[in-house]
């Protein structure tokens, strides 16, 4: 026993046992700290870089096309001899396809979430949720061809005059693609509602459905709203399905049964072409990209606001 005390430098105090600063350790610590900071900085700098490129190229673009024309023109023909730059043409395509997608994803996702959180037993839930999330892992190009080759022909049986490319079929499939995100996030939000709240409702003689609709859904509202906003962001930003199945023809339309280009599918189209750098046609994709960024930004801010406004502290 005594011997242990007689050997202070036995590896436990490798620094010599004195209460001095450990230079090596401090160096290691600050090295790690810098590494972590660098990792965080990369993502922030990337975002800043994207914004910088979008804004600077767009400034060039708006130096040649007045902002008012950009917002009010009803044609989008940047590559024609008689060029028009009405972004509303693309915005309408994005809006219509997103609304179709949301009309599918929000009700379906919410119903699935209510079922999984309030009705399904644990076995069903443990099988259904991973399967559902698998659906979110399917590449969107596959969804795109599914829309073009399966859904459009099926829809054409019901509506014989539906064209081969349409916002409707692309939007429907996009909705199905988004369902897992809405369902999964909404289910998380509803499961976070404490059991004591449900017991309070059951204790009043309420049924499962009444409890789910009148207590759990309102209590989880901030989470549900967040999942819907995420759905909107995904729908607005979705590219491949629309490029494949919606037809990339710019047209100002609010009719889902027509083909149209969206902001994203236009960017794909132009980015794949061989336009010279610095040409006006080339710069349009940055103006379109900036528009897309602003739209998603607005929805993200809306989502944050909804979360704060309706946050319940149980």
């Amino acid at each position: 026993m005594q011997g242990d005390f007689a050997q202070p430098a036995s590896g436990r105090h490798a620094g010599g046992g004195r209460l001095a600063r450990n230079v090596m350790r401090n160096l290691g610590e600050s090295g790690i700290e810098m590494l972590l900071f660098a990792a965080a900085a990369v993502s922030v700098l990337t975002t800043l870089g994207i914004v910088y490129v979008l804004v600077s190229e767009s400034i060039n673009f708006f130096g040649r096309v007045p902002l008012l024309d950009f917002l009010t023109d009803t044609q989008w023909t940047p590559l024609f001899y008689d060029a028009h730059f009405g972004i509303m043409v693309l915005v309408s395509g994005t809006a219509v396809s997103s609304l179709v997608a949301l009309a599918v994803a929000v009700p379906m996702g919410t119903v699935i979430a209510i079922y999984l959180s309030e009705f399904a037993n644990s076995t069903v839930r443990e099988v259904a949720k991973p399967v559902l999330e698998l659906l979110g892992g399917i590449p969107t190009i596959v969804f795109g061809y599914f829309a073009l080759l399966m859904v459009t022909p099926a829809l054409q049986r019901i509506f014989p005059r539906l064209p081969g490319f349409s916002l409707l079929s692309a939007g429907l499939v996009m909705g199905v693609m988004i369902v897992p995100y809405v369902a999964s996030l909404s289910e998380d939000a509803m499961r976070a509602v404490p059991m004591s709240l449900r017991e309070g409702s059951y204790g009043m003689g309420a049924t499962r459905l009444h409890t789910a609709l009148h207590v759990v859904v309102p209590a989880a509202f901030s989470g549900l709203a967040a999942s819907y906003v995420l759905a909107i962001s995904r729908a607005v930003g979705e590219t491949m399905i629309l490029a494949v199945a919606a037809g990339m023809r710019p047209s100002l339309t609010w009719n889902p049964a027509e083909p149209a280009a969206t902001i994203t599918s236009y960017i794909v189209q132009v980015a794949l072409g061989d336009l010279p750098h610095g040409s006006l046609g080339y710069q349009t994709i940055f103006a379109a990209g900036l528009t897309l960024l602003l739209i998603t930004l607005v929805f993200n801010i809306l989502g944050q606001w909804l979360r704060r406004k309706f946050r319940e502290n149980y």
Binding site: P194, L197, M204, A219
Partner: protein
């Protein structure tokens, strides 16, 4: 021993007979017999984990919400003289007649008004005038009316903890329950709010039978007419509250009450 003859004129509201309860394989309640008298307060005391909350939650079939639970024996409910635990009895019907107030105030994420209206709406009441009347009555009954009458549209979560608990009591009262279950209703409240709830219980027992779980023996002594001491899922002793507290028959009850255990 439980053989305490109770010469009492108050009629029975409910009575546990040979009640046992299982959480899966675990037997949480063992063969409990206990009368619940109408318009009286019956308190359940005992150390944590002794099964008092489990016992309370048998009365409104709360255990039905979770899989793997099993009741044995019966709880007779009067004047129907029906067994609340019988499989053919609909738990929703049971909960329509037996109200519950929980340990932590659990107001719904709705307005004060809608919280109290909840049970009435569940029962299909939609007449605005009838709702207004019953909600005022219930809030008065819970001694909350004067504090909230000008802000019925506000979210219930804006109320203080004690007010929230009285709101939960009003919510339970709105539907005219015949038996009220209180599961440690003051454990999350400060002494002043606790005093208000205890006073309220005194008022409420003029109208309704009350069964209350409490881990506070002084509270049991203050509010109840009858007290049951439970330990490890068994009911050790049951009797009039003053008798239990002054001269308990069982050594274990005495140890608990005098603070030598638990």
């Amino acid at each position: 021993m439980i053989d305490m003859p109770i010469q009492e004129s108050a009629p029975l509201k409910a009575e546990a007979r040979g009640l046992s309860f299982h959480y899966g394989e675990v037997r949480a309640l063992k063969n409990i017999d206990m009368p619940i008298r109408d318009k009286k307060v019956t308190a359940l005391i005992g150390p944590s984990g002794c099964g008092k909350s489990t016992y309370l939650r048998c009365f409104n079939r709360m255990h039905d919400l979770y899989p793997g639970n099993r009741y044995e024996g019966e709880i007779r409910f009067y004047p129907d003289d029906a067994n609340l635990l019988a499989p053919e009895i609909d738990p929703i019907e049971v909960r329509m007649r037996i109200g519950m107030v929980f340990q932590k105030p659990n107001p719904f994420p709705k307005s004060i008004y809608e919280n109290v209206a909840y049970g009435l709406r569940v029962r299909g009441e939609s007449n605005k005038r009838a709702l207004d009347d019953k909600i005022e009555q219930a809030l008065r009954g819970a001694a909350l009316w004067d504090e909230v009458k000008d802000r019925l549209g506000e979210l219930a979560s804006r109320l203080s903890g004690g007010q929230q608990q009285r709101l939960c009591i009003a919510r339970a009262l709105a539907t005219d329950p015949e038996l009220l279950l209180f599961d440690e209703p003051t454990s999350a409240l400060d002494p002043i709010a606790t005093g208000a709830i205890e006073e309220l219980i005194h008022e409420l027992k003029k109208r309704v039978a009350i069964l209350i779980v409490t881990h506070n023996m002084q509270q049991a002594a203050r509010v109840s007419d009858y007290t049951a001491y439970m330990y490890l899922g068994e009911m050790i002793e049951f009797g009039k509250t003053d008798e239990i507290f002054i001269k308990p028959q069982d050594k274990r009850t005495e140890d608990y009450i005098t603070g030598r255990m638990g």
